[in-house]
């Protein structure tokens, strides 16, 4: 994917994030993920039904990388089984940490494939998806 396209995808997801805004629906489980070292802070909601991720929502203030990666992660993980989702997250973590990973599995999430070149932003690119992972583990 070329860098122009990557930037466009990131900016679109930052400016119009997918599933931003929380619901009052009690059937969701809730969590918070914040960064102790910078100012990013997310509230996250997850709904799992029959082992399938039915919905994820979030709210909060964060930088462009953190917000966009949250948005893309959500659109990627909805509809997946818990095992599929955890597998995607594991591959995403490997990509961020410069290990071998399955590129096809990640689709749009590969816009962050070069983020390792900016070490201080690795945590921005993982904050949201790590928050989702915590919730999925609670749901299991």
């Amino acid at each position: 994917m070329d860098n122009n396209l990557k930037r466009t995808i990131i900016l679109e997801n930052y400016e119009k994030p997918f599933h931003k805004g929380l619901t009052n629906d009690e059937s969701y489980i809730k969590g918070n993920k914040n960064s102790q070292t910078c100012i990013d802070n997310f509230d996250i909601q997850l709904k799992v039904n029959n082992n399938i991720i039915e919905d994820i929502r979030f709210d909060g203030e964060a930088c462009a990388i953190a917000t966009s990666s949250m948005s893309i992660s959500i659109s990627k993980l909805i509809g997946k089984t818990i095992e599929e989702a955890l597998n995607i997250i594991e591959n995403y973590e490997k990509m961020i940490n410069e290990e071998e990973y399955d590129k096809d599995l990640l689709e749009e999430l590969i816009v962050y494939e070069d983020i390792y070149k900016q070490p201080s932003r690795k945590k921005c690119a993982t904050l949201g998806i790590e928050g989702i992972k915590d919730l999925i583990k609670n749901a299991k």
Partner: protein, 399 residues
Amino acid sequence: MNREDFPILESGIVYFDNGATTLKPKCVIDSMVDYYTNYPSNAHRGDYKISLKASSEYELAREKLKDFINAETKEEIVFTSGSTESLNMIVNGYFKYFLKENDEVLITKAEHASNILPWYELENEIGIKVNYIPLTKDHTISLENVKNSITDKTKVISIAHISNVIGDVRPLKEIISYAHEKGILVVVDAAQSVGHINVDVKDLDIDFMAMSAHKMCGPTGIGALYAKYDLLDKIKPYKYGGGMNVAFTDPKNIQYMDLPTKLEAGTQNIAGVIGFGKAIDYINEIGIDNIEEYTDNLKKYLVDRLKEINNINIYNENIEGSTLTFNIDKVFAQDTAIYLDKYNICVRSGEHCAKKLDDELGIKNTVRVSLYFYNNKEDIDKLVDALKNDKILEESIGI
């Protein structure tokens, strides 16, 4: 002015994070290297020449600070690791023993965490009440709001002389004189004011004051606590040990030293104190009034130039002083800071350790430019040039 005194500026960086810490001039660095190289001995405990020199330089720095803030005696100055430690000593060494349940302390929501959390913990511990003086619409403190916040339970007011986010200079003289009429003590967090504007503890009639050397060209990890002698003498040490005792035989027979040494247990940050003393000399050479006038004018230039940018929100343009807080429309503060770093411009983003200020500003994260005397118009022009760009967000991503 005096840019040539700061080796780091040769690298071409534009340094606008003076509210966090200032740069260090070569003379301060050299004074510390001189100590470590030529008389690296302990203070107050040797009978040989280099130790006597270390002791006298250490005490000379105390003398310099006493003159700098116009304290009555040098015994009113205690060296600490900085404003945070000083404030904790004031709260936990004095007020913990003199306040009772339901006594009130007044602070503001614009205070630094170091002037909030010690009070919150004291509320948790002994049941005092922390109340807030409401800020004006410019986020400053007015005497009227102070008067309206005082009740017959108010025992202490604890505020910064200059706020680290808004940058306003609080009307301390009026506040303190009114507080004293009501029998209220005043604690001043002077982290942002000493070395930036003239601070005269006698003229202002300050009861307790906290300072940090690193915000006025000095080294990190060193600062001071000032209090009027009788108040300082009532602060209970929280560190006991070497250096601060005269004699002891058993728990019933201990004699501690007099002020200020009884509050300086253990081997001190001698190099830090010496560097602090040098920073005071350096600032005196430039002249504190010159520094204040210069940064005030520079801020006016900064405001004028930033207004050329149409998608900017400035939160404190009408405030005199050296701090300016802003956001670029639709760009998260941290992204703006990361973007500016690509141009070697150092600014701070976030909540600036004033996490309660969100309630007042209605906005959580901002970008802060804080000026000092070595900044110049050219620095500001570089900032404005960098911000005149529709693609800040895009470029901040770094991909």
